[in-house]
């Protein structure tokens, strides 16, 4: 079934980041291109939380998130000179994250490692313990459900549903077409809902 034939409605593009932030990132990128490495350090400070959160969603509850964040910035430093400014820098950054995550997911699945090892718990934002516990539980379920998705579907799903990227931006970040994004998202949603249904049934029989 082609993507056009899917009954998937139009996807609502989410608002882009504020132009101020984007403009600041672009200025830093220009400085990095001129060999100003200290600008890279500043860019790292500005984006590291977002990168870590994105990677955590993309690869799931892994204990080696530190390494992935490092790997992302090492790649980013090498890649920035090739950034031509044809897309938003945020999209470019997500592309680097996606590449790192895809490589890691493939490597991880080859290892067929037992995922029952409990990685470090994630913290929930805010100070309400009850809400924090609920969020942690939700996060655990979501990541377990995401494990059921293929790597590519997972990237599209996470970018749309968790990172708030629009389909065009996802297409740029994944180096694929708009229709492919729609198709992957369609299937990912179905698989994710099925996985969640199963998991909630296990938790609340």
């Amino acid at each position: 079934m082609s993507a056009e034939a899917l009954p998937l409605p139009r996807l609502v593009p989410t608002p882009p980041p504020t132009t101020q932030v984007e403009a600041r990132l672009m200025r830093l990128v220009e400085r990095i291109k001129k060999d100003d490495v200290l600008a890279f350090e500043e860019l790292y400070r500005l984006t590291r939380d977002d990168v870590a959160r994105t990677l955590a969603h993309l690869v799931g509850r892994r204990s080696d998130l530190d390494d992935l964040v490092q790997e992302t910035y090492i790649r980013l430093l090498k890649a920035v000179p090739n950034f031509r400014g044809e897309s938003q820098f945020r999209t470019f950054l997500y592309r680097v994250c996606a590449n790192v995550a895809l490589m890691h997911l493939r490597w991880w699945r080859r290892r067929k490692e037992d995922l029952t090892d409990e990685p470090p718990e994630q913290e929930a934002a805010g100070h309400d313990p009850e809400r924090a516990a609920q969020a942690a539980q939700a996060s655990r379920l979501v990541h377990q459900a995401l494990e059921k998705l293929s790597a590519k579907k997972r990237v599209v799903f996470v970018y749309h549903e968790l990172c708030g990227l629009g389909p065009e931006e996802i297409a740029q970040a994944c180096g694929t077409s708009y229709n492919t994004v729609r198709s992957r998202l369609h299937h990912a949603r179905l698989e994710f809902t099925a996985a969640m249904r199963e998991l909630t049934r296990e938790v609340m029989p």
């Binding site: 139009r10 490495v37 939380d49 998130l65 090492i74 979501v142 369609h186």
Partner: protein, 551 residues
């Protein structure tokens, strides 16, 4: 809605449907319990996603920050020493080939005048003194007026800089000293084999040479800093006395404590209450120190060449001979152009030089035996104009660093390269047949600026570059065996990143991984092994890499 399509339900929950579609679906839901159940599942999934979105992943930011900081520092260091790296990376094969060819020509003995270099070698060295290379607002206690560039300095001289002053000094042991603004420093001992400084206030940055000597000591605010060969800074302010190291390490005597070693990337602060705090060198200070090192390297390059020329191509125990300071002939250039310091030879220099024992005279002080000289114009640009502003004392952040193996005093990449310019394999077409009576001057390569020239040398550039690469690899391997490979990591990375995969690039990647493993930096080692597995899926060291990366 004529069929139970979950994706439409998801779109409904995500408010992605148009008003008409929405109304239609709601009508359908009223009469379809199955779809209502499905919608409930979708809503639960979406709520879970909402909760997951709010979670913050746990990242050990101190570790990641350290790695990113190291990455930035490495880049800064490579920028500060780009001319050297150009040599290391062999990207400028022509420059390397021309440099080696020029060296080869310079060192080639002249059959007719074999005995004459002896006379040149016997030229007695001039007395060794410290001197002012460049200064603004520098004065000597007890004298009126500012010191001029080139002023000789002696043991016991107390120097001060004004609030906007700065000075770059050349010490007799080939070390270099940058004195910051509003500083007061005394050259307690300024001999070729013994250097002692006392910093009473302000800031000094030192590029200490690897010279054998009795000692190199900096005393300030109760701290005594013992130096081997390294790049470091000492700052004395109202906060206390701080030692920061960007290369090598220093031993610091702290009153009331055991001696402390301060290593690469670390700083130590002794505050006014006698409390010792350790932290990380700031990126800005690292940049300053790297620039000081770059200036020192550039100056050394000029001196080394002058010594070689003066001694008829014989690289002697050079520092004593050459410790005369930066040649005064250096023109002042802006920092951008100065970074591209180079020696340029006219095209006929290599092709038609009939007699080359005495090709370059750079300094008036160096006596030169009169002989027929080939016309070789040497244009040496000035080292970068470096006057970084004083770095304000930042907040010390604690960081644990893996102990780094200390490099021996002479452990530089090029210091002991064996026969780096062994004449035989260099296919330079226009040179006269070779006699090996004169020992090759490999150490000259270490500091010599790039030589751009000589059409005849082009044909030989690539093989020569490859020869140098293999020598570099041999040297790196030896250092790996001795556990002192850290200094080779940058050069190895340059080789490993070569787009053309060869056994040498493969070996460079493996050497890097082994070196990290040796330095007890497992994460970096595994990263290198991973890169190896990606780059060389059929490589020679697959087993080693797979073992390291894990199943």
């Amino acid at each position: 809605m004529t069929r139970h399509d979950e994706s439409v339900l998801w779109a409904y929950a995500a408010d992605e449907l148009g008003p008409g579609e929405k109304r239609g679906l709601e009508d359908h839901l009223d009469g379809c319990p199955e779809c209502r159940e499905q919608l409930a599942s979708v809503q639960i999934a979406r709520e879970a996603l909402e909760g997951a979105r709010a979670t913050i992943p746990q990242v050990t930011w101190s570790k990641v920050d350290e790695v990113i900081g190291a990455l930035v520092e490495k880049r800064l260091a490579s920028q500060a020493r780009r001319p050297m790296l150009l040599r290391l990376s062999f990207a400028g094969g022509l420059a390397v080939a021309a440099a080696a060819a020029a060296l080869f020509v310079l060192t080639r003995p002249e059959p007719v005048a074999v005995a004459e270099p002896v006379a040149m070698v016997n030229v007695p060295p001039r007395p060794v003194t410290a001197r002012v290379d460049r200064a603004e607002g520098l004065s000597r206690d007890g004298e009126h007026g500012s010191l001029l560039d080139g002023t000789e300095l002696h043991s016991g001289d107390a120097l001060s800089t004004t609030a906007s002053g700065k000075a770059f000094l050349h010490l007799p042991d080939l070390s270099h000293l940058r004195v910051g603004a509003a500083s007061h420093v005394t050259l307690t001992q300024a001999e070729a084999d013994d250097v002692a400084l006392a910093l009473e206030s302000g800031h000094v940055a030192v590029r200490a040479s690897h010279q054998d000597r009795k000692g190199f000591v900096v005393r300030s605010g109760g701290l005594t800093v013992h130096v081997v060969g390294t790049v470091f800074a000492v700052t004395k302010s109202t906060l206390g006395t701080e030692v920061a190291v960007s290369e090598g390490r220093v031993r610091v005597e702290v009153p009331g404590h055991d001696d402390v070693f301060v290593g690469l990337g670390e700083r130590l602060l002794l505050d006014a209450r006698g409390k010792v705090t350790r932290g990380k060198v700031t990126a800005a200070l690292t940049k300053e120190l790297d620039e000081v090192a770059a200036v020192a390297d550039a100056t050394m390059a000029v001196e080394t060449q002058a010594v070689v020329a003066a001694s008829g191509g014989q690289q002697s125990a050079p520092p004593l001979l050459s410790a005369q300071g930066t040649p005064r002939t250096l023109p002042r250039l802006d920092s951008k152009t100065a970074r591209s310091r180079q020696v340029s030879l006219p095209p006929d220099a290599l092709a038609s030089a009939p007699s080359t024992e005495q090709p370059v005279q750079q300094r008036d002080e160096v006596p030169v035996v009169q002989r027929v000289e080939p016309k070789i114009d040497v244009v040496i640009e000035e080292p970068p104009e470096v006057w970084p502003s004083m770095v304000p004392g930042g907040k010390a952040t604690f960081s644990k660093r893996e102990p780094m193996p200390a490099a021996p005093p002479d452990a530089t990449e090029w210091a002991s390269l064996p026969a780096a310019v062994e004449p035989v394999p260099v296919p330079v077409p226009a040179v006269v047949p070779v006699q090996t009576a004169v020992e090759p001057k490999q150490s000259k390569l270490r500091d010599e600026p790039e030589v751009v020239a000589a059409v005849p040398a082009r044909q030989g550039s690539k093989p020569l570059a490859r020869d140098l690469e293999s020598l570099f690899m041999e040297h790196a391997e030896a250092a790996l065996g001795q556990g002192t490979c850290e200094r080779f990591q940058v050069g190895l990375e340059d080789l490993a990143q070569d787009a053309q995969r060869t056994p040498r690039t493969e070996l460079a990647r493996i050497f890097r991984a082994r070196c990290f493993a040796l330095e007890l930096r497992p994460r970096q080692a595994i990263n290198e092994y991973r890169k190896y597995l990606e780059e060389y899926p059929r490589g020679r060291f697959l087993e080693e890499a797979r073992d390291a990366v894990g199943p």
